[in-house]
């Protein structure tokens, strides 16, 4: 080898060095230009796309937790709490930290024996579908004992944590459930209708009653908590905090004491409604729909078996009879028909007609409830004794449209706009009504039975209570409402042609209670105050000529028992409508209940 080195001439060495240095130079240029490419790449990422990547980095780092607002509480008129929020323990499941869902489910089954299997399966089904970075709450409130048991074993289950949340609680249970309504889990239909931003972090929504009607006031506005989280979703520190705005507390016009008392008047398995209104204001003092059910069952989601039992209960507790129960008003409609007749000069209040116990029209006999007849009756007698024949005859003079026009201002056949969602309208028939709904002409025979609140007539209890209140307050068209500070339109006044006519009708209703021939005279005695009332017994279906034998037919087909009334007569403070489904006669069943409610209310409000 060494020879070759020796043979290297200087020229060769120079050429060799030049070649090498060229290559070095080329190498260096190569290095610098490729580093230039890298810098170009960095300029692209860090300069041109800085905003984009900055956002992505912030998005990585910051996650937004919603702070759900505290739902407003609901109080009665005397500041008694009707719907509260109570802290309860529940378990939070962080999907990411749960390796074995089946094992976790087994653990929960053991830990919480009171959690029904169906509920557990449903929850774990949901958990399996939950995104990895999310966490969900078990819809179950742990007892303190269960919470303590969990705390001991919690280290084995890093994906589970005990957390407190506020749960809607109705301290009076089933009382006034149809007025209050209840909250329940937001379903997919509701989710599609509401603004998701407002409901982030909220799991419940008002489903019925006041809870639904005033949802927007009760709900409040969610707050935002910005937190810095690491790649595993763990919260490292809190950044910005916009606190939630809690929902408004609302006060109702209900008197829970009166409400409880009114509900207690229904013996077991009785169905019906009692609506009590302050006739001066339209404030609903008691809103009873029986039977009732416990709204607390729905708050965390009701299990299927209990729900089916409620739905299939033959007494239909889920029906809100106050606004959705549509009943023939029966004889309770008579004072209103009578007032319309004398105000519009269809009959003189003093005119007497003869009642032989029936009314004959076109070879058809329309029976009076009293088969022997009432004899000679004027308007006062007709109301006091609830003479049907008087009204049969009167109705033909008036015609259905005049009856309709007389009753419509009292709100029959229309919604009262009470602040409970889903109210039914009832039916106040007229020629036009029949033409548009049935496409048939009106028959005069139908007018006859309409005059005693049968036939097509249907009213809801709240309608009946409203009409009674208007009668009590001298024609001021009040709007029944449950919210104490409800914003209502200024009430209109029914046109009064002669105030004496109103006084006559009220006097007749007074006599129903206090005269020796009044249908409710038994219940008007010894009250300590005087009141007005009208009984009603509505036929559920036509018995035709056959004798009414209460015992021989199914109880479900018994007459509905109705009563409307108000008191004290000189300064009405409460107007009441009572309906007891299949309760028999109005005087026998509904009247004493109404009287008791009025009496109780006056007692409660006597200083």
């Amino acid at each position: 080898m060494s020879e070759r080195l020796d043979f290297n001439s200087d020229a060769e060495a120079f050429a060799e060095k030049k070649l090498f240095r060229n290559r070095l130079l080329f190498g260096f240029i190569f290095v610098v230009s490729l580093f230039g490419v890298l810098i170009g790449r960095m300029v692209y990422l860090q300069w041109f796309n800085f905003e984009h990547y900055h956002l992505l980095a912030e998005d990585n780092r910051i996650s937004i937790e919603t702070l759900p607002p505290t739902r407003g509480k609901i109080y009665d008129r005397n500041h008694v709490l009707l719907a509260d929020n109570q802290p309860v323990f529940t378990l939070k499941f962080t999907r990411e930290k749960i390796d074995d869902i089946a094992q976790t489910e087994a653990f929960i089954g053991e830990l919480l024996p009171n959690l029904s299997e169906a509920q557990r399966q449903k929850f774990f089904e949901k958990l399996r579908r939950t995104g990895r970075s999310r966490s969900i709450l078990l819809p179950y409130s742990l007892s303190e004992e269960e919470a303590a048991q969990f705390a001991v074993q919690s280290y084995q289950h890093p994906g589970l944590s005990l957390t407190a949340r506020l749960k809607r609680v109705y301290p009076f249970g089933a009382t006034a459930v149809h007025a209050l309504g209840y909250v329940g889990r937001i379903n997919s239909k509701e989710l599609s209708q509401l603004d998701e931003r407002d409901y982030r972090g909220t799991e419940i929504i008002g489903k019925l009653g006041i809870e639904k009607y005033y949802e927007s006031r009760l709900h409040g506005e969610p707050g935002i908590q910005q937190v810095e989280t690491n790649a595993k979703g763990r919260v490292l520190r809190k950044l910005e905090n916009i606190p939630a705005i809690p929902g408004d507390d609302i006060q109702l016009t209900l008197d829970i004491q009166l409400q409880q008392y009114a509900e207690s008047l229904f013996s077991e398995h009785k169905r019906g409604a009692i609506i009590a209104i302050d006739p001066k204001t339209g404030e609903v003092l008691a809103y009873v729909s029986m039977p009732v059910f416990d709204p607390n069952l729905f708050v965390d989601g009701i299990d299927q078996a209990t729900y089916s039992a409620l739905l299939n209960n033959p007494h239909r507790p889920m029906i809100n009879r106050g606004i959705n129960g549509q009943y023939p008003p029966g004889s309770t409609i008579k004072p209103f028909v009578a007032l319309g007749a004398i105000e519009n000069d269809y009959i003189s209040p003093l005119k007497k007609i003869f009642d032989p116990g029936y009314f004959e029209y076109k070879n058809h006999r329309y029976r009076d409830w009293k088969r022997t007849g009432h004899g000679l009756v004027d308007m006062n007698d007709a109301i006091v004794q609830s003479c049907d024949t008087y009204f049969y005859e009167l109705s033909l003079d008036m015609g259905i449209d005049a009856i309709h026009d007389a009753l419509a201002p009292f709100g029959f056949g229309n919604v009262t706009a009470i602040d409970i969602p889903g109210e039914s309208k009832g039916i106040l028939p007229s020629q036009e009504w029949k033409k548009t709904t049935k496409g048939e002409p009106w028959y005069r025979g139908e007018t006859i039975i309409s005059s005693i609140g049968q036939g097509y007539n249907l009213t809801t209890p709240v309608q009946l209570a409203k009409a009674t209140a208007i009668l009590a307050n001298g024609g001021k068209i009040i709007q029944p409402h449950l919210l104490k500070d409800a914003k209502l339109p200024a009430p209109q006044q029914i046109e009064i042609k002669d105030i004496q006519n109103w006084n006559r009708v009220v006097a007749a209703m007074h006599d129903v209670m206090h005269s020796p021939r009044g249908t409710a005279r038994r219940h008007g005695q010894g009250l300590g105050f005087e009141m007005a009332g009208k009984t009603g017994t509505a036929q559920v279906f036509s018995l035709n000529e056959a004798d009414y034998d209460a015992d021989s037919i199914d109880k479900r087909l018994h007459d509905h028992s109705l009563f409307v009334g108000f008191g004290p007569i000189e300064n009405p403070q409460i107007a009441v409508a009572v309906i007891v489904e299949n309760g028999g006669s109005g005087s026998g069943t509904a009247a004493p209940m109404a009287v008791d409610v009025i009496k109780k209310y006056l007692e409660l409000n006597t200083p």
């Binding site: 060769e12 070649l19 090498f20 190498g27 190569f30 580093f35 960095m42 990422l45 990585n60 790649a231």
Partner: protein
């Protein structure tokens, strides 16, 4: 070869500085210290301020520094003598790895010799270019095609033994270090371009031979967003880290991507992303400037080297350093496939740093021992 010590009187004519006594090149040392200083800061930040990690890092730096000093004392002619033996031993160890190696991450890379566990491929990073340089040491530049052919065969043998481990990334990079020697020895341009063309033409065949995980890496590289939760995740998060650094960066210890654990391997393969996030474009340019400074100094040393062996070693080592830095930065910024390669002199980790510091030791030795090789 007339390798004698008779010119030593030149050295002793004036008082030697400490650096000269220790055979250290001051400029190179400055560049290395700057990079290692940056490395320490970044490892501290990327680890989330863990003193323990930094302590270990500094101990490794100290160990590697000692090795650099040691190799700086070894005259190049001694390396020259040992080169073929080292190559033979390296090849045997690579075969040993295939036969008895430890399996880690689906590939056999580690060899256990008693208590020592090391990667023979790491040794070959140094030895292969030295061997090819040894081969060309006494040829005129450019050497004959026959010698080029032998050199290429040695490169192919080494790369072949590594690629079957399988470790495609390392195999390519080691082959590169040998190929740079061919380049600096004056391999004709027509062969260079011809080879590049034939490599491109053979890519479909290579694709066919690739393991699935390698194919997946390539696919993910081409479209990282296609698998944002899987293999594309690293690159996406790394680009977010780099891009969100902007021009000035988020400041020291300000890397949210690393501290909140979005960035994988933040102290090792992806440490450049931490640098970019915390020090922005300014920091990136500073780092690249340091590399250019070190590489330029290394190439200068090569240009001043007195024989072909040392010229080729010095120049190819610098180009290898460049390639490692380029591939790592290209990888974390989404220009190149994810090959799992540390950023030279910056990443936390032992073996690569040791290899690099040894090569710097050799470089210094080349520069400081040359007066003894006076003709």
């Amino acid at each position: 070869m007339k390798i004698t010590l008779n010119s030593s009187h030149n050295v002793y004519r004036r008082n030697k500085t400490i650096l000269q006594t220790l055979h250290i090149d001051g400029w190179l040392l400055l560049g290395i210290l700057l990079l290692l200083g940056a490395s320490t800061l970044l490892v501290y930040s990327a680890s989330g301020g863990e003193v323990e990690v930094v302590t270990r890092h500094l101990m490794r730096i100290g160990f590697a520094f000692a090795l650099m000093l040691l190799f700086a004392q070894i005259p190049p002619n001694i390396l020259y003598v040992f080169t073929p033996w080292l190559f033979g031993a390296g090849i045997l160890m690579l075969i040993g790895v295939l036969l008895f190696g430890d399996i880690g991450k689906g590939a056999q890379r580690w060899l256990e010799l008693g208590p020592i566990r090391f990667q023979p491929s790491e040794l070959m990073k140094l030895v292969l270019p030295m061997t090819v340089a040894w081969l060309f040491a006494h040829s005129n530049f450019p050497p004959s095609y026959k010698r080029f052919g032998v050199g290429a065969a040695l490169i192919a043998l080494t790369a072949g033994l590594i690629v079957v481990q399988p470790d495609l990334g390392t195999s390519i990079l080691i082959a590169m270090s040998g190929l740079f020697v061919l380049f600096f020895a004056g391999l004709p341009w027509k062969i260079i371009f011809g080879s590049i063309l034939s490599v491109v033409a053979s890519l479909p065949v290579v694709w066919h031979l690739m393991h699935d995980y390698q194919k997946q890496r390539v696919l993910t590289f081409l479209d990282p967003e296609s698998d944002p939760l899987g293999s594309g995740y690293h690159i996406i998060q790394s680009k977010i880290a780099i891009g969100s650094g902007g021009i000035e960066g988020k400041g020291f210890m300000g890397s949210t991507q690393a501290h909140l654990e979005f960035l994988p391997e933040s102290t090792t393969d992806f440490i450049f992303s931490v640098l970019s996030e915390e020090f922005g474009l300014v920091g990136v340019i500073l780092l690249l400037a340091m590399y250019v400074f070190v590489i330029a100094r290394g190439l200068y040393i090569a240009s001043q080297a007195q024989d072909n062996f040392t010229r080729l070693i010095a120049s190819s080592m610098m180009m290898t350093l460049f390639v490692y830095a380029f591939v790592n930065i290209g990888m974390v910024s989404g220009l190149l496939p994810v090959v799992g390669l540390p950023l030279p002199l910056i990443s936390y980790g032992g073996s690569a740093l040791v290899t690099l510091m040894i090569s710097f030791g050799i470089l210094m030795s080349i520069h400081t021992h040359k007066k003894m090789l006076a003709k």
